[in-house]
Amino acid sequence: MNLETLPLQFRDWIVSLFPGALQWFVHHLLSITAILTFFGLFFAFTTIAERKLLARLQNRLGPNRSGLPWFRRLKLWGLTQPFADAIKAITKEDVVPAVADKVLHFLAPVVIVAFSLLGFAVLPFGRHLIPVELDAAILYFFAAGTATELAIFMAGWGSRNKYSLLAAMRALAQLISYELPLILSVVPVILVVGTLSTSEIALAQGGWTWGIIPHWHVFTPWGFAGFVIFLVAALAESNRSPFDLPEAESELIAGHLTEYSGFKYALFFMAEYFGLTALSGLGVTLFLGGWQAPFAFLEFIPSWLWFMTKLAGMIVFFIWIRGTLLRLRIDQLTRLAWKFLVPLALLNLGNAAFWTLTAGWTGPLVLVRWGVSAAIVIVPFLLLGRRLSAGYAPRTYRYAA
């Protein structure tokens, strides 16, 4: 039995049970079901992992009381918590404001979940494991991802609540600001590999230098810079701390989610995690070698397992960031995007162009290539970084002693 193609064999076996005319339909339906069940469960366990991990990062224990019904003795380290949360969310009262736009208010959570799920279609989960093989996969991914911003504004507008509307506008400002560095950080990869297809980008990162250093994009100067920009922008795009201003509880009483309760609220929550998972998956594909194993002798482990390991690693890193950093102010947030990330990402684009032009250099010129490329990353980073908070810090207090 070949573990590598096991999911495909299983799918083909189920498809073969149906009559020929229905097979294309069953084929796609199976892909959709697999994504929905797998990432639905993945979402559930991400929430408990996040709560546990955050607790440990802050010297707490985290949820550990929920067990199984009728088996009170079995605590299972609280791993059944997400199911208890789901039951709670479903059984809660769904309050809709009397003056709300009923249609928009209802549609917003549906739309946001639908669009955030679309991204999974083009992620190469393994060597042969990609739900939809698209030539313009990255274009499609960002088109689907950007549509979630529409849903956030739908929620803010449809709630007919001042907090919701203001927060939704703030969220739009943030999301549009960070859409730019996010896409600009991805463009160098497309420039170097020369394709928009995610499976081909993952394939292009195979092989090792001297047998140990994998050819992942993150191990090049432009790729590293792109990856860091991508990480920051992905954090902001998925509304995660330290960029969680759209739903800043302490300032905006949960922002565009103010008028949502029960399962609709859970849907927004779900969409946020789906978006985060999909963006992490894209980051893994573009920069961390996709489903490629880090070492040649580890290639016996199936590729989809490698992809999931890296994806989980990315999510753990995002949780770690959330447990560490404080929320930014809205002006700091937009300043970081427009004055820092966008110029760096643009320079990085030039860096990638230099990298492709010098692909033929050999001998000592390789060192020159790496040196120049690293300089294009580091020098602007230091210069821009010094200018970023010039005049803003240290803060002086006029009336405080």
């Binding site: 440990r56 990062l57 010297n59 224990l61 770690w320 560490t324 950093l325 970084g385």
Partner: protein, 212 residues
């Protein structure tokens, strides 16, 4: 450099994460209902009556029903009835004992004044805090059977104070014993009055809990 603070912060939380698994200083959470709460030694809540012997709590109460605590209690939550007869105490001296000793815990404010005034070290502060009753009148009125707890228990909850009290009591009893011996010797030396009661041997601190 920009970003160095972020890396430093990530280091701090990473240390927290690793430390929470092996360093008790970083993981201070007590899972209270599962594991008993660790109380500081000085924690006090509601008084209890000290008995010398756990096997015979009612026979070895240190309390001699002098009623000082009853008179002293600010919220008047102690009720004592003296016994009609006398029982020998730990030193063998016949003493009164409380026929009824009740504390209304609904009224008690855990001020420790009863403990302060007791000349016999018979009442001490307990550390119970998980108290509940189904009836707020009889349920919260504790009688002497419920209040009596052995000296070993006192050693368990407050070892330093218990050791100090025990040391003092044994010293006092020893002194009393020696004094009685000396008196007996003096009486034996004086041949004028060969009275029978003086010839009885001096009382000994024979009862169980005193030596602990």
């Amino acid at each position: 450099m920009l970003g160095s603070g972020i890396l430093k912060g990530l280091g701090v939380t990473a240390k927290n994460f690793v430390g929470s698994y092996h360093d008790p200083k970083r993981m201070v959470t007590e899972e209270y209902p599962d594991t008993p709460a660790k109380l500081p030694e000085a924690y006090r809540n509601f008084p209890f009556l000290v008995t010398e012997n756990a096997t015979d709590p009612m026979g070895t109460l240190r309390c001699v029903a002098c009623q000082i605590c009853e008179k002293e209690c600010p919220p008047q939550c102690i009720y004592i009835e003296k016994s009609k007869d006398k029982k020998p105490d730990a030193t063998g001296k016949p003493q009164l004992y409380p026929a009824v000793f009740a504390i209304d815990t609904a009224v008690c404010m855990s001020c420790q004044l009863c403990v302060e005034v007791c000349p016999f070290d018979a009442i001490k502060m307990d550390q119970v805090f998980a108290v509940a009753a189904t009836n707020r009148f009889e349920g919260l009125l504790l009688n002497r059977e419920q209040l009596a707890k052995p000296n070993e228990y006192f050693h368990q909850i407050r070892p330093t104070e218990a050791a100090e009290v025990d040391g003092r009591l044994t010293a006092e009893r020893k002194a009393a014993e020696e004094k009685a011996k000396a008196a007996a010797a003096a009486k034996a030396a004086a041949p004028a009055k060969p009275a029978a009661p003086a010839a009885t041997p001096a009382p000994k601190p024979a009862e169980g809990g005193t030596a602990s």
